[in-house]
């Protein structure tokens, strides 16, 4: 029927599979992310360091070139420490990307009360959270573990099969540490933006949670002469997990178990906060 005919007609066609409805939010969310030039620019910047790492890996296997420019070959070693450094830089960039992109996913829906329109359809709150978080999950995967695995494959292809087999755990650590960080960032960003409802403030709050949390933790440690302050320092907690996963020799004040439990607690609180706000109408008792 031509669109200009002003008459109503019911829909009698086929419907999409119910399980796939969350992908609608994923598509629209992803489109909105790349509508902003700044976010697209930031996303591109996130690939500079992996590109540099790629060049370093290539150079590490070009002994003649290194000799030509006077750098000893043993100075560049591609090992777990190299991938830990890669993860630390990309983790920080992933956090920055989340601070810009994350709040824009949820807060516009809450700012003008659009949630009842989502939930009056055959679409659940869990699907909503899944749809929105999948935007961040893919975006952050693209800047963390996917280029990381590419680097690992590049190194493996240049160093040979024996290196690849003996260091296969590094690829696992890359993926696990990235996925953990992505889960924490996604939940934190969505929970904060659901509560604040204002995109800019939510972004600022996310930065504050990370930096002021770290500062607050350090202050507690200094004043009370304790290590409990580290539990307020989310980057430190995540760093502790990464150090263990990459088997890097850096002393940490808290154990991997304590850090893991604290991160799990943060995630649970964020999920609780998110589910409390992501509903059609709030019940005021």
């Amino acid at each position: 029927m031509a669109v200009y005919r002003r008459s109503y007609k019911p829909y009698a066609g086929t419907l999409t599979a119910e399980w796939s409805r969350f992908l609608v939010l994923f598509r629209y969310g992803r489109k909105s992310v790349f509508r902003s030039k700044m976010q697209t620019g930031l996303f591109v910047i996130c690939f500079f360091f992996p590109l540099a790492c790629l060049i370093i890996i290539y150079l590490a296997h070009s002994a003649s070139f290194l000799a030509k420019i006077g750098i000893p070959a043993q100075l560049i070693s591609i090992d777990s420490k190299f991938f830990f450094r890669y993860m630390s830089v990309q983790g920080a960039l992933a956090f920055l990307l989340t601070a810009f992109v994350g709040p824009g996913l949820v807060s516009p829906d809450l700012a003008n009360g659009a949630l009842p329109l989502f939930f009056c359809r055959p679409f659940s709150r869990a699907e909503y959270v899944l749809g929105k978080s999948s935007v961040l999950a893919l975006l952050l995967s693209q800047v963390t573990w996917i280029p990381g695995v590419v680097l690992f494959v590049m190194q493996a292809s240049l160093a040979g099969a024996s290196w690849a087999w003996s260091n296969l755990w590094i690829a696992g650590s890359l993926m696990l540490s990235s996925l953990l960080w992505i889960a924490v960032l996604s939940l934190l960003a969505m929970a904060l933006s659901a509560w604040v409802k204002w995109r800019i403030v939510a972004g600022a709050l996310l930065l504050a949670v990370m930096f002021f949390g770290a500062g607050f933790g350090q202050a507690i440690n200094a004043v009370l002469r304790t290590d409990f302050g580290y539990f307020f320092n989310l980057p430190y907690l995540m760093g502790t997990v990464w150090i263990t996963l990459f088997q890097v020799d850096i002393a940490q004040a808290i154990s991997i178990t304590q850090a893991g439990v604290a991160i799990l607690l943060y995630c649970t609180v964020c999920l609780g906060l998110l589910l409390r706000k992501v509903r059609a109408y709030e019940v005021i008792r």
Binding site: R6, A12, L15, A114, L117, R285
Partner: protein, 297 residues
């Protein structure tokens, strides 16, 4: 609805509602805080009933909410939009969330926006819309997937008279098309009277009155109020001889028409008696009368 109750904390919002509503357009009336919106939100599964049960289109709200939501289009009372999205993208997304394939959702989004009269503005961002346009956009997203039941919560809220007229006309058109049933929730009697054929009046969370407006209108066709010049006892007596019940005061006569008697018989009688009829009204119980009676009860 069978004993449907909703409780928030220690407050009873809906109390023991039992009714069966099957009209083409059902009005939910009541003063502010009567529980109209809560009833709608409960039927949509946003609130859980504390007791009782209800069925929408034959599906139980406690066990088949997904099926119910697939059949329902909902236009909420308050602002509900994403300001940075264009109307067509917004309506398309809502269509897709209801299960329409993307191409079909886009086509129907255009159709729905044309239908509600937002064709020219459909590529504009929703944040730039006027209040009336936002209401129309909410209506468009409610009908994009072709629901069987359309729930409208205060659809004329904040509209100027001409926009209100347009909205009412559109609701009537949807009703008359017979393609979907309507539940219209409003505290404006005029809106409900203009569009609905059944009315459920709520008061403090309880059903105060149920009325089938069509039947009321049919019944009211027998009540007449005359203002006649030159009428005397003979004219009243002649009317009573026709079988009508009359009550005369000065030159006004209130009467109930007898079976088989039409207004033309009254005019013929008046001509025979040399009585000039200046005014003849069907003295109908307006919805306002019904509402006020329900509130007083």
């Amino acid at each position: 609805m069978q004993g449907l109750s909703v409780r928030f904390g220690d407050r009873d919002i809906l109390r023991n509602l039992s009714a069966s509503l099957q009209g083409q357009a059902i009005g939910l009336l009541g003063p502010n805080g009567a529980g109209k919106s809560t009833l709608i939100n409960t039927l949509l599964g946003f609130y859980k009933p504390s007791a009782g049960s209800a069925k929408v289109c034959g599906h139980d709200i406690s066990t088949a909410m997904r099926q119910i939501r697939a059949l329902v289009g909902y236009m909420p009372e308050n602002d509900a939009f994403i300001s940075k999205m264009s109307a067509v993208s917004f309506v398309q997304m809502m269509g897709e969330l209801s299960g329409l394939p993307p191409e079909m959702a886009l086509e129907r989004a255009h159709e729905a926006l044309f239908y509600v009269g937002l064709a020219e503005a459909r590529y504009r961002k929703l944040g730039t819309y006027s209040l009336g346009m936002k209401q129309l956009a909410k209506l468009a997203q409610a009908i994009v997937h072709g629901p069987r039941l359309l729930i409208l919560d205060e659809p004329t809220n904040g509209l100027d008279p001409s926009a209100r007229q347009r909205m009412i006309r559109m609701i009537r058109e949807i009703r008359d098309s017979g393609e979907m049933r309507i539940i219209l929730c409003s505290h404006l009697l005029r809106d409900v009277e203009d569009t609905c054929d059944e009315v459920l009046i709520l008061k403090r969370g309880q059903i105060a009155h149920y009325s089938n407006l069509n039947e009321e209108r049919r019944a009211n066709r027998r009540f007449l109020e005359l203002e006649a010049c030159g009428a005397n006892g003979d004219f009243t007596a002649a009317l009573e001889r026709l079988g009508c019940e009359c009550a005369a005061t000065a030159n006004r006569i209130k009467m109930i028409l007898a079976e088989g008697i039409e207004t033309r018989d009254i005019f013929r009688l008046a001509a025979e008696q040399n009585v000039r009829i200046r005014r003849l009204n069907f003295r109908r119980d307006t919805l306002e009368d019904i509402f006020l009676k329900a509130m007083e009860s």
